[in-house]
């Protein structure tokens, strides 16, 4: 159950169409390493982010624009190239973009902002966010390409965002002789959108071939002429606005409120996708359950930090566990006193039950480990060190096994136990018994 808005549906149908055509063109794919060299050599994580962001950024509106304006000027590949190979198609794409650039570029505030942000991130040491911004920038530029009919100086304006970030490694690699840079950059965003759109969220780490993208570009431009003409009819409804960054699609309101809201929603969707990769078990499509996973994961990590800061100190089992539990109750009290209005009813009750259980287990553990284990067994829980819990949770999320491990109870029990297990050393009587418990469940 996912509340999908109309534009998400439209986008997904469009993406499906594109992916179908891409699979057709894959047959004709010849390996091309040229475009790969243009693509940023980065880790698999960054690859995914680039692809996702470029797909979301470009695919939403650049297609109808480019198609709508390309047709009257030059039909590069519909008639004259029946047996086009990837090299030619790429050249044609580059030429076509070049001609587009010369005529229709507009530089607006958003790209300035993005470029300045990007430069700051580059300075601060390049991360996934830097690539996010770079892709946004390139997608912004590709959007601007088909955006409107105002004539502007292409080289100057495109170089402006790039030169703002001058002096950095990545950008200096792009500061090549004049036209090529911008064109290649745009082509990256352009073809990258194809790549991103043809992939699902599970295929991040596959290295993709830009030859496929180039060949697919030709095919998609050819055969999706019908769809963009429809959408450009709706988009042609507001031609007069000079600063239009986002072209509205057919049947949707064009007032600034909904455009702003749509932008906001797209941004949130981008970030959710990035979070999906970060969080284990992040294969949920539903926003609510994705948020649930995120919350659980953050809680888990914070707990790990707390436990790890304890584990080195050593000491008796009871003395080790008690501070954690005491900390929990003090935190809850502080939070309850400070922000009484925010905590809803259900969340506080679940928290209470967990802490009550933890308190009881802590008390029992001070007396006798055996009684504590029996108490937990009666509840259907078990004790395990946190590292084991981590390993198991990652293993189960990879294999998607049928048995439903309750992660929250494990973490809660593991919290109480991990201190004991870790502080008392990797105690061998504990771990076999926990393994037995787990197996018997």
């Amino acid at each position: 159950m996912q509340p999908r808005s109309r534009e998400m549906q439209a986008m997904s149908s469009f993406l499906n169409q594109q992916s179908q055509q891409m699979s057709m063109q894959d047959q004709q794919n010849t390996g091309n390493s040229l475009m790969n060299s243009q693509f940023d050599p980065s880790s698999s994580n960054d690859d995914f982010l680039e692809q996702m962001f470029s797909s979301i950024g470009s695919s939403s509106c650049s297609w109808p624009d480019v198609m709508g304006t390309a047709n009257p000027k030059l039909p590069p590949w519909d008639l004259s190239s029946p047996s086009i190979d990837s090299q030619k198609s790429r050249d044609l794409a580059v030429d076509e973009l070049n001609q587009e650039n010369v005529q229709q570029l507009q530089f607006d505030d958003q790209s300035v902002m993005l470029s300045s942000k990007f430069r700051q991130h580059q300075i601060s040491g390049g991360s996934a966010k830097a690539l996010l911004l770079r892709q946004q920038l390139s997608s912004m530029q590709s959007r601007c390409v088909g955006g409107n009919g105002s004539i502007a100086d292409e080289t100057g304006l495109i170089h402006l965002p790039l030169s703002l970030g001058g002096g950095n490694d990545v950008l200096s690699a792009h500061n090549n002789p004049s036209g090529n840079v911008s064109v290649q950059n745009l082509y990256n965003g352009y073809a990258g959108s194809l790549l991103g759109s043809g992939q699902t969220s599970n295929q991040f780490h596959q290295p993709q071939d830009f030859g496929a993208a180039a060949a697919a570009a030709a095919a998609v431009m050819n055969s999706s002429a019908a769809a963009p003409s429809i959408s450009s009819a709706g988009g042609g409804g507001n031609p007069g606005q000079p600063r239009q960054r986002v072209r509205a699609r057919r049947g949707q309101a064009t007032d600034p409120h909904s455009i702003a809201e749509r932008l906001r929603r797209e941004r949130i969707a981008e970030r959710m996708k990035a979070l999906q990769e970060l969080v284990p078990n992040g294969n949920k499509s539903d926003k609510a359950s994705m948020l649930d996973e995120i919350i659980d994961y953050v809680k888990f990590l914070q707990l790990q930090v707390k436990v790890l800061s304890m584990s080195r100190l050593g000491g008796a089992t009871g003395a080790v566990v008690a501070p954690i539990v005491a900390d929990n109750s003090s935190e809850a009290a502080a939070r309850g006193g400070g922000t009484s209005s925010i905590n809803g009813g259900p969340s506080s009750s679940t928290n209470d039950s967990v802490t009550v259980t933890e308190n009881r287990v802590a008390k029992l553990m001070e007396e006798d480990m055996g009684s504590a284990m029996q108490y937990l067994q009666g509840k259907g829980l078990c004790l395990m060190p946190i590292s084991l819990a981590t390993a198991i949770s990652t293993a189960t999320c990879h294999s998607r096994n049928p048995l439903p491990p309750p992660p929250t109870t494990n973490a809660a029990a593991g919290a109480a136990a991990a201190a004991a297990a870790a502080a008392a050393g990797p105690s061998s009587p504990n771990t076999p018994s926990t393994m037995n418990n787990l197996l018997h469940r």
Binding site: D327, S387, T390
Partner: protein, 208 residues
């Protein structure tokens, strides 16, 4: 076994930037703990644990804190810690130069701005939601769909509240930047946990 597990967890996503981040964090953490090692021999277990955790948090918060950084949770951690008089020494040691002046000014400004922003976005959202109900699309949806969407929206709302309480400094932030903060926070938490595990393993290995 712990070694294997930790390497198993960290290898899929190791990049050069993340390892350097981890090294930076570890260095700062050890530095911070050395700074208050003299006082730690006297204090109790709880206090020692708190200092360790605090120095770890501060070390994490201070990595990548450049002037142009736009995430707020680091500053929130530091400002929260600086309210406690006991930890000033640690803060000055770990966080260093850009801490004091930058933070005070920025945090005050930020809280003012964001509370006003929050109020405005809430007003806007209310007005927008009232407008939305008049749009034609609502009438074509069946009642079940409307109820389902209302329910899901409520769930999402609840969960964003919880997330706001978890991420430091997340109270006065809109949903969009909250996501960005959450991404950054999760990445640094992962780095922090990895770094702490490595150091602890090294120390226990050297002891035994």
């Amino acid at each position: 076994m712990i070694n294997q597990l930790s390497t198993m967890r960290s290898t899929p996503r190791m990049t050069s930037s993340s390892t350097s981040l981890k090294q930076l964090f570890m260095k700062k953490w050890i530095m911070g703990m050395k700074a208050c090692s003299s006082s730690m021999k006297k204090s109790s277990l709880l206090e020692r644990k708190n200092t360790i955790k605090l120095s770890a948090d501060l070390a994490m918060a201070s990595t990548r804190m450049v002037a142009g950084c736009t995430t707020y949770w680091r500053r929130a951690i530091i400002t929260n810690a600086s309210k406690d008089p006991n930890s000033k020494h640690l803060i000055n040691h770990i966080v260093g130069k850009y801490s004091r002046s930058n933070n005070n000014y920025n945090s005050v400004l930020m809280t003012k701005i964001t509370s006003v922003q929050l109020h405005c976005t809430r007003l806007l959202r209310k007005s927008r939601s009232k407008k939305r109900k008049n749009i034609v699309g609502w009438r074509t949806m069946s009642d079940k769909k409307i109820a389902a969407s209302i329910l899901s929206r409520r769930l999402v709302r609840k969960r964003t509240q919880v997330l706001k309480s978890l991420v430091p400094g997340g109270e006065a932030m809109d949903e969009c930047s909250l996501m960005k903060e959450a991404i950054d926070y999760i990445i640094s938490l992962q780095t922090q946990v990895d770094g702490m595990k490595h150091i602890i393993n090294a120390v226990t290995a050297s002891k035994s």
